[in-house]
Symmetry: C2
Subunit: 225 residues, 2 copies
């Protein structure tokens, strides 16, 4: 795994550089993360390959591989950037239930915008992601301040994250994912429930997320009391 | 999208078939689903490509494409097979909370064995998957029998599924995903919570799933009461 050089090239080395030579010596992991985030914002995750990212950076693929080993590692860098947008501010001051709702809502919104990261982050060791670690620290400290049984803090966080990750995937599902108009006779109870829910609002994913989050938070707090 | 021919070749057409000619006329979507399920069981989802699957079936890639348009469609066929293993039996007879726990536990176990399906199924319209539809029918009927407000049945199912899908991804995460031994000073509250939980058992994913499922079911039932 490469490390950032950090230093600018000397005037001498710059002058010796041939015109058009990839400026690989200016590359570092922070620049790669920023470029990858812009790339997926413009062109989506499906288009993100190591060679396409190298091209976007104006470097050769081998220069890119000097700093990151794989697309998986690029996604880790993106994930750590994205985590910065998750709102943990409630844990310092709000009652635990409110803090969890604020955090979970922003966490789900962030990963709904970056749904292809969900299967990556769900199995990614946190140790290599400093901002992600800081998020967990704020959340764990908030639970501890609220007097939560210490053995139950990690299970509570993991349960909430499982719900958040699943909800982020659901947020990008087609709105008619439960269209069963052709099968009403085969699945009458389900078709009735779908029709009834459809009549209540036009954002079923948001509706289900808020409903489930309320239930999960209520259940966690009731179990801890 | 191709359809299954269903009919066996006549003796005449069989006799005219050249030796070694791909037996594409015997192919159908059911056989493709079975072969794909065996394939991912033996070699994993990463190895599953259309050409590798065609080879496993002993047919040409173009013969396979006569029946399924894409790897995505193969995954849909696999998903519908896999859904058969989800245990919905409680909804016919058990109290709702017990039925939900049984269903959710088996659903999570099934998709922990097929984690690469999770991002596929989470955004997949249910209309093309007859067994999946039957699962939803049993679940919706169980909620209705328990007197659940009809408008809340689909949000409750979606919330539970979001938690189940996220938990299935967590089940395949490395056990040391929260190893922060190198960063105890940076994240003391989180490191303390991780150490405390580690002391309680050796299957943190199962632990978090059961803890969260209890809380979610408790919260849903309390909200509906």
């Amino acid at each position: 795994m490469g490390t950032a050089t950090g230093s600018a090239p000397s005037a001498e080395s710059a002058s010796r550089r041939k015109a058009g030579r990839p400026r690989g010596e200016l590359l570092n992991r922070s620049k790669i993360a920023g470029a990858a985030l812009r790339f997926v914002g413009d062109r989506g995750y499906d288009a993100l390959t190591m060679s396409a990212l190298a091209k976007a950076l104006g470097v050769s693929a081998s220069a890119l591989y000097n700093h990151v080993e794989s697309k998986q590692e690029v996604l880790q860098l993106v994930q750590d950037r994205v985590m910065d947008d998750v709102d943990c501010s409630g844990f310092a001051s709000q009652p635990l239930g409110e803090a969890v709702r604020r955090w979970a809502g922003s966490y789900r919104d962030v990963f709904a915008r970056h749904a292809p990261l969900v299967p990556v982050i769900a199995v990614l060791p946190v140790s290599g992601s400093p901002r992600t670690l800081q998020m967990y620290e704020q959340v764990a400290a908030g639970f501890a301040r609220a007097g939560w049984d210490q053995q139950r803090i990690v299970p509570a966080i993991v349960a909430l994250e499982s719900f958040i990750f699943g909800s982020a995937l659901d947020a990008v599902a087609p709105k008619d994912i439960f269209n069963v108009d052709h099968a009403v006779d085969d699945v009458p109870a389900f078709a009735g429930a779908v029709a009834s829910q459809r009549a209540t609002g036009d954002d079923p994913a948001q509706d289900a997320f808020e409903y489930g989050l309320d239930a999960l938070v209520r259940g966690l707090l009731a179990g801890a009391a």
